[in-house]
């Protein structure tokens, strides 16, 4: 510290005093220059307060604020703070018992209340020192204000830079997010879950795993560790989903970032970004969360499609069921109509053998009305008393053991009508319906007429055989009695002619004449026999010529009216023999004077009629009579024959034969 020389009287003393004051001034100014190099108000204040004892006569220097402490000043003692706050100019300031303090306000354009540079010393400051310290305080305040402004500007600049960086980052993030949205929106409508996983992998570089709510893998992209593909235990899975639902954003769990795809209250899936090192950026997580949103939409869309498909399928099934019901109803109606139109009686009974249904034919055959039989036991209705118990036992056995001798077989049995009359019936029984509620349906046909027809057929066949035997015997007899005798006589006469040829040529010629006569007679008789079997004229010239020839041989006049048209050979033969037999009977039995034979066509039938003006009353006398033979012959061709022969005379035999195709005709 330099010494002061207030009372210098010599030139050297004066020079020293001047130099000393000048040194102090220089000290203040050079220090003020150095203060501009300081980097903080605290550094400024520290340099100033530690330099002041080197500049002025004092013990120490401090920085006080009346109300508070700061980074480069202290809070003034409470007992002086009010007084200090009222200080407006540099000067002495009393602190406690000491009055050797001086206060120098630091002027600052930005401070509300001044900070004071407080200088304490045992000696009073000179006027020059007070001035220099005032200057130094103001310079100090100015430098501090500049530093604070710089700091504020720097802070502002840093904030602006930070805001710019943040804005730039935000813009960059938004740009990336827009790109994320654009990419995911592009694939959302057509690429499905696989596309979403692949796009998220491309956007982030991380492996992607999409699972449904139960943990089943639906899609992956990039590297996904195998252990992540295993399904999680249901309980832990539910805990995790609850946690994700509460978080409402991506959650890091199990070395992966997870986000829920839950478009509404439902959770449809979980999408995971595999990130073992936990290095995913906010942009990556934004991509994950938006992918979860897109996935939600996709899953919701798929769910809607599935629901629509289910509804459509249900509607189709309902339509099909209705169609089937309608078809079944129609089928039942058709079946009922068929049953109603059937000629056979149809009877349905339940497992208690009680009638549940009968058709119209049943009413007709059995003589019951339907309402009379529904609910009644079958056996009492349609079976003769002698068969009922057997039927009941068989029915019970079937229900108990399943053994049956009549189901699905055609059997013949005796049935009973409402009036108690019995008739032969052919019965077929079927069983339908579930085993616990079987339905038995019987089809009953009255076969009385058929049996009669069969018996008639048997009799007809027997008569044909007998007629054939009779014809053979007649031919044998005719050959034996006629042609054979003629040819025997011929042979004998020829032998006699031979014996007399040399000795009695006249006699030999007589014998030859006799032999010739017998031979001729034999030939004629053979021709007659042959004509009885199948006349040659019929084959060669047809029915009209044959019947005319037949009529010509009869002893009474016969008028013929035969359509000159060739018919199938069996029909022509039957008509020919019908006419031959009928005209023979006329000659033999009718005592007629005239007869008529007519053959014509009526539609697809051939009609033949032989009539006479005889005594009438003709009827078959035995099974083997000629009339029955005619009937059999006509019947063999599915034809019919009628006899009209009143007792007051005249007889008409009329036959009608269907014109069958030749192939259908018997040979």
């Amino acid at each position: 510290m330099t010494s002061t020389a207030p009372g210098a009287s010599s030139a050297s003393d004066l020079e020293l005093a001047i130099n000393t004051r000048l040194s102090s001034v220089n000290a203040v100014f050079t220090l003020s220059l150095i203060l501009t190099q300081a980097s903080s108000p605290a550094q400024v204040m520290r340099l100033v307060t530690t330099a002041i004892p080197s500049i002025a006569h004092c013990e120490k220097a401090l920085a006080w604020h009346p109300r508070r402490s700061g980074d480069y000043y202290q809070r003034a003692p409470d007992d002086v703070s009010d007084a200090l706050a009222r200080v407006t100019a540099p000067g002495r300031f009393g602190v406690g018992d000491s009055s050797s303090w001086s206060a120098f306000p630091l002027t600052s354009p930005i401070a509300d209340e001044p900070v004071f540079l407080m200088v304490a010393g045992g000696e009073d400051l000179s006027g020059e020192e007070t001035f220099l310290l005032s200057v130094l305080a103001q310079l100090c305040g100015t430098v501090i204000a500049k530093l604070e402004l710089i700091a504020a500007e720097r802070s502002t600049a840093q904030r602006v830079a930070a805001l710019n960086a943040e804005l730039e980052s935000t813009i960059s993030t938004l740009t990336k997010i827009m790109e994320i949205h654009r990419r995911l929106n592009e694939i959302a409508s057509h690429a499905g879950e696989t596309g979403i996983a692949a796009t998220l992998h491309q956007l982030t570089g991380f492996g992607v795993l999409i699972q449904d709510v139960s943990g089943q893998v639906r899609a992956t992209a990039g590297g996904v560790p195998g252990d992540r593909l295993a399904a999680q235990q249901p309980g832990r899975r539910q805990d995790l989903i609850r946690r994700l639902r509460r978080a409402r954003r991506a959650v890091y769990h199990g070395r992966a970032w997870l986000a829920l795809a839950n478009p509404r209250a439902d959770v449809l899936g979980v999408i995971a970004l595999i990130d073992p090192a936990r290095t995913a950026s906010e942009t990556d997580l934004a991509a994950l969360e938006y992918a979860a949103t897109v996935l939600s939409v996709e899953l919701a869309r798929m769910q809607s499609l599935a629901e629509a498909e289910l509804r459509s399928r249900a509607a189709r099934e309902r339509d099909i069921a209705q169609a089937r019901a309608a078809e079944l109803a129609a089928s039942e109606a058709r079946q009922r109509a068929i049953l109603e139109a059937a000629l056979d009686a149809v009877i349905s009974i339940d497992q208690h053998a009680r009638v549940t249904y009968v058709n119209s034919a049943f009413e007709h055959i059995f003589g019951y009305r339907a309402d009379e039989v529904i609910g009644r036991e079958l056996a009492n209705l349609v079976m003769p008393p002698s068969l009922r118990e057997t039927h009941r036992q068989g029915f019970a056995r079937y229900l108990t053991t399943g053994q049956t001798r009549i189901l699905d077989q055609r059997i013949e049995m005796t049935a009973m009508r409402a009036d108690g009359s019995e008739f032969p019936a052919e019965v077929t029984v079927t069983c339908t319906g579930p085993s616990e509620e079987p339905v038995f349906t019987g089809y009953v046909r009255d076969i009385a007429e058929r049996q009669r027809a069969e018996q008639e057929l048997k009799a007809s066949r027997a008569r044909l055989v007998a007629a054939s035997d009779a014809a053979r015997q007649r031919v044998t007899r005719d050959l034996h009695d006629g042609a054979q005798q003629r040819f025997v006589g011929t042979v004998i006469n020829l032998q006699l002619a031979g014996q007399k040829w040399e000795s009695a040529p006249q006699h030999a010629r007589q014998f030859l004449g006799l032999a010739l006569r017998d031979a001729q007679r034999g030939i004629d008789e053979l021709r007659e026999i042959a004509a009885g079997i199948h006349p040659a004229i019929l084959t060669q010239r047809g029915l009209a010529a044959a019947i005319d020839a037949l009529a010509a041989r009869l002893p009474i006049p016969v008028q013929t009216e035969v359509r000159d048209q060739r018919l199938p050979a069996p029909i022509e033969a039957s008509i020919y023999f019908f006419c031959s037999e009928a005209l023979t009977n006329v000659v033999k039995h009718a005592h007629a004077t005239s007869a008529w034979a007519r053959v014509g066509l009526e539609g697809n039938r051939c009609t033949v009629e032989v009539s006479d003006d005889g005594i009438g009353g003709a009827r078959p006398r035995s099974e083997t009579s000629g009339l029955n033979g005619l009937r059999d012959r006509i019947g063999a061709l599915s034809g019919t024959m009628d006899i009209i022969s009143p007792a007051d005379g005249g007889t008409v035999l009329r036959a009608s034969i269907p014109l069958l195709s030749e192939s259908a005709c018997p040979d």
Binding site: L22, S23, L31, T50, A51
Partner: protein, 195 residues
Amino acid sequence: MGPRATDTPDLGFQVGDHVCAFYSGGSASLNDIVVDFISRGLRAGNKCICFIDTPSPVRDRIPGELMPRGDILQFFTEEQGYIPEGYFSKDAFLRNMETTVKGVLSAGYDRVWLVGDASVVARRAVDMKTWFTAESEMSELAPRYPQFIMCLYDLNLFDGEMVMYVLKTHPRIFVNGLIITNPYYISSGQFSSSA
């Protein structure tokens, strides 16, 4: 050697300068000042010697074309420069500095630029009176040789009292990018008598 014509008019360096400079921004500020200083010396083809503890950040910033000779730039730590014996000796310090300068000149350099940070003085609690006496005498020695000397003081390590000593012992100040004459400087004799 008296003051000569200005060799670096942009800053106002003069041959034989003993300049003090203050920094408060840590090593970055120190390095900025050092790099600027020695770059000027290297561009002039002069020998440059640095007394700093961390030379690599400085060396890395010096373009290779400024160092045509391998010895043109030399670094020493502060302890190597100021307290090579483990303690500070004013006389040894001044003698070493003079010897160093003479060695440079004998090596063919026209001038030598010396820059040193004084932080080690605060760290090693060197006696300030001795140190600033040496600084004051250095101001007497510097003009005798074709050299530029800059002493650097960290305002975070030195308080106002020390700063005032620095100002009393350096005839010129490097402040706000300019070298100005220090009105507070006093001669070595005055300093010795006042101390």
